[in-house]
Structure formats: C-alpha cells, structure tokens
C-alpha cells in the first residue's frame, strides 16, 4: 500500500478467514495492541523488533469475526502525546493537509481511515487518543465505557483510564467494529459483561442534551465553538432538547489526569529493561547501569518526561500530595458527570478546542500539549463513553462534535451520533 501519510509502522497483512461479520474487511491495528507474530513497538525504539507471542483479546475477536489484519499504525510513543509527533518513527500526516498533525495518539489509525487506506481501525483512548485524531482527521471515533472492551494485550500506558476502541469513516462502521470487540474477557479483571449487538438506528428525538459551560470556555477556538454550536442546533432540529449544565470539578481534570497517568506510566514502563525483550543491555555491567543506558537510548523525550514526572509524584513524601489527591479529584469529576447525566441523556461539546495544528506547533511546550486534552480527559476520568463525529470545518480543517453518554450507554450514544451523521 502507498503509505503517503506515514500512517503505518508495519504493513504486514494477515488475510481473514471464515464468514463472520467482518469477513472481507481490512482492519488496521494501533501499534500498542499486541499482535501474535507481528512486530509491536508502541512507536518506541525500546520495543523495536519485539514480536509478541500472543494476540490481544480484541485482535482475537477481530480474527474470529473474519477480519483481515491490515498493518500496525503509527502513534505517539506509548500513547503519550496528542499529535502523533512523539513517534520514534516520524509523525503521521493529516490527509486533509499534510503540513498538519493527525492528532494523537491514535494518529496512524485515523490517517489510515481518513486517507481511505482502510475502512476501519482500532485505536486506544487514554485521555482522548481516539477522539482527538478522529476529530482532526474528520472521521468517527468511539471511546468505550471503561471495562466494556478487554485491555488484555493493550500495552499499558495508564491502566485506569484507557480503552481500545473503533475508528471508522462513519457511525455504522464504528458500531459494527464495536460490536465485535465489546464484551467480557476473563483475562482482564476490570472487564465487565456488556456486549453490544451492533444494531444501530438513528435516534435522537426527545433526548435531553446537556451543554457543559466549561466546554465552551477560555482556550476554545471561536470558529470551532461556533461550528459545534451549529451542530447542537441541528440536534435540536432533530427533536432533542439542549440545556446548559456545569461540571464545576473540571478544573481538577487535567492535573488529576496527568498525575495519575504519569504515576501509572512510570510503573508500567519500568519493565522495559532489555532483558526479556527490547534492545540488548550490556550484560557485564551492574544491572542498574545496564538498564539506565538501555532506557536512556530507548525512550523518547516525552516518555522520559512522563516517567520522571510519575516517579517523582510517587516518591517518598509526595504520594499523598499528588496521587491520593488526584484519586479524590477523579471521584469528584465522576460525580459531576453522573449528576449531569441523570437529567441529561448526553452531554455535547467540541472534541478538541482547536483544529489540527501545524507539525511542530505544539511540541515545544509540553504543558501546552497537555492542555490540548482539556475537553477529552474528563470522559476518561469519569469512565463514561464518548464519540467524536465530524461536524464541518473551521479554518479549512475538520471539527469534531463530542457526544458523551451514560456509563455503558454506547447503544443510545451511537444511535444519537447516527441521527446527527445522517442529518448533515
């Protein structure tokens, strides 16, 4: 295939077998999802050459449904980033404008779909990593409820936030792919038994849609906000009622997210020492010295930064100040969402505060990069499902409408997204 968007890290194809519902469909897989006998790198030099001896549960389900596995997609190293520029193997390029980023971290999956290379792809969403590139590349991406899709085989970045989820050009394909991967897996202790039947029908009439004030606050581009307001008006025309709501604890969202995800990441990524997989350490050095060299050479800047931040936040004397506080902040944020979603069927807002930036624009300042996630991370904190659907363009680039639903409410969320998609 002609990978002009640097969407792929590996273009190995495994033809599908059988007559399942994905028979004849090629599905690309984000490179942090383990594929048996196919190199899986997380876009990191530290996993270059690593061949998993097993398939992630989601990949097993795809194969059982007859899908062809169509390559491993580019991403921010270990999922750490919002643009796919933090790939050790070069950034993915936005098919709408190749001087711009795809968004991230599932940027390769989004570019592959938006560029027409495949119709569906799997991504993973820790703090927006499916929805962000879906929005910036003008496609549909679903972050499932926490626990609805098995994480077994997903190379962990921040365990308590992330989910594997589908990206596709339209809502029906997203629903189809989701129906294959949703359901209980006894190999994942946080997995729940909530399969999805894939029966998606346009349905928005009579629903109440909450518009969180905080989703149109400072930092949200005026043209992006206007496009999303238009989309909400469209939902009202389709028979939904829009009401303003507030999520007062959202001010804690980014700190709580970044504290927790860096803590978890620092621990998750400590296993990359070169012994069982990865670049060979110098065997006759004392182990700390050998590991230090392997890890210095193998990890990129952003990964190092997050490992160090997490190590710091967990270190003696700081655990109570950072990790413990962050968990209580999560609980407050989750409660805000739960109470808003008691009266509302969905919440709606922009997926991203801006359109896709130029390559290099966000990478100089990590804090600026973190702040780009402000509208996506609250959903991961609350554990609820959210979908990004295209709602037009601003500054000539795609804008995503984010619909957020009740815990395990993907059915009605997909139905609402389909109603919107069919109307525009």
């Amino acid at each position: 295939m002609n990978d002009k968007y640097n969407a792929y890290l590996n273009t190995t194809e495994i033809p599908g077998t059988g007559s399942g519902i994905l028979a004849g469909i090629r599905v690309s897989i984000k490179d942090n999802i383990s594929t048996k006998d196919i190199e899986t790198t997380c876009a990191s030099k530290i996993l270059k050459g690593y061949i998993p001896p097993y398939d992630a549960h989601a990949v097993t389900l795809l194969k059982n449904a007859g899908a062809s596995i169509a390559g491993k997609t580019n991403m921010d190293e270990f999922g750490m980033g919002s643009t796919t520029e933090n790939s050790a193997f070069g950034p993915a390029l936005n098919p709408h404008d190749t001087t711009r980023v795809t968004g991230g971290s599932s940027g390769g999956s989004a570019a592959a779909v938006a560029g027409g290379l495949v119709s569906m792809a799997l991504g993973s969403d820790t703090g927006g990593s499916i929805r962000c590139p879906a929005a910036w590349c003008g496609i549909v991406g679903l972050k499932p409820s926490y626990g609805r899709v098995s994480r077994f085989g997903l190379i962990a970045y921040a365990n308590s936030f992330e989910q594997i989820g589908p990206l596709a050009a339209n809502v029906r394909d997203v629903a189809k792919l989701f129906s294959v991967i949703a359901g209980h897996d006894k190999k994942d202790s946080t997995s729940v038994s909530k399969p999805y039947d894939g029966k998606v029908i346009p349905d928005i009439r009579g629903k109440t849609i909450g518009i969180p004030r905080e989703y149109f606050g400072e930092g949200v581009d005026r043209d992006v906000a206007a496009k999303v307001r238009e989309a909400i008006t469209k939902l009202e025309e389709l028979g939904a009622a829009a009401v303003e709501v507030s999520l007062p604890s959202m001010k804690y969202a980014l700190p709580a997210y970044y504290v927790t995800c860096t803590c978890e990441a620092s621990s998750n990524l400590d296993r990359f020492d070169g012994v069982r997989y990865g670049p060979e350490p110098e065997m006759n050095l004392p182990w700390h010295d050998a590991y230090t060299k392997v890890r210095e050479a193998g990890f990129g800047q952003e990964v190092k930064r997050r490992i160090l931040l997490g190590t710091f936040a967990l270190s003696a004397g700081y655990y109570g100040k950072y990790y413990v506080k962050a968990q209580h902040a999560r609980q407050l944020i989750a409660k805000d969402f739960a109470s808003a979603l008691k009266t509302c069927d969905f919440l709606a807002g922009p997926t991203m505060p801006n359109v896709a930036p130029k390559i290099g624009e966000l990478t100089s300042d990590p804090l600026l990069m973190y702040q780009a996630d402000i509208l996506t991370v609250p959903v991961n904190i609350a554990g609820i499902p959210a979908i990004s659907v295209p709602c037009g363009t601003a500054h000539g680039m795609p804008v995503g409408l984010q619909l957020m639903g009740r815990m395990f409410g993907e059915e009605s969320l997909l139905n609402a997204a389909l109603a919107f998609e069919e109307a525009v």
Binding site: G147, P281, N284, K321, H328
Partner: protein
C-alpha cells in the same frame, strides 16, 4: 521548587539516563507542570473512594503455558533455556 539535583535523583530511581542538556530543560518543565498540579492542594480529601468492582477472581485451574521457544524469543543469547541478564553481583 524542584532542583536539578532532585531531577537527577528521580532519574536514578527510574533507571533513566539523562544528558546534562536535558537536565536543565526537564527541571524547568517540571516546575511549570508541577505548579499546574498545585490546584489539587485546594482539594479536601473526604470519605473513602468508591469501588465499581470488587472481588474479581479466577478459579485455581491450570492453563497451558507458552513454549520455551516463545518465552526466549525476544531475549538476547539465552543459555540452556535461561534468559540472560546483566550482572547482579
């Protein structure tokens, strides 16, 4: 305020080498990011955390292992079925 010596200590804990050029930059970025985290200090810690899931177990049943070949496949110069690692003595 995080000092360069703090960042070096953390890097040592994390077994990550950082160059002297990275050290200054990381220290500066750390301080900016940690300042941004300070809002968590205003939060009152109240009550226990809610637990969506409790008591998830599996039965004590033996399932197949992977082959020794697969276990060693990604390691370097395994010897007699053992995986080679740096020295510890």
């Amino acid at each position: 305020m995080v000092k360069e010596s703090d960042v070096l200590h953390i890097a040592e804990l994390a077994d990550i080498g950082i160059s002297s050029s990275e050290l200054g930059k990381f220290t500066e970025q750390f301080n900016a990011i940690l300042e941004y985290f300070d809002i968590l200090d205003t939060l009152e810690v109240t009550g226990p955390l809610e637990r969506p899931l409790v008591n998830i177990f599996r039965e004590d049943e033996v399932t197949p292992c992977i082959s020794q070949e697969d276990a060693l496949r990604n390691s370097h110069n395994p010897e007699d079925g053992y995986i080679r690692a740096p020295k510890v003595v």
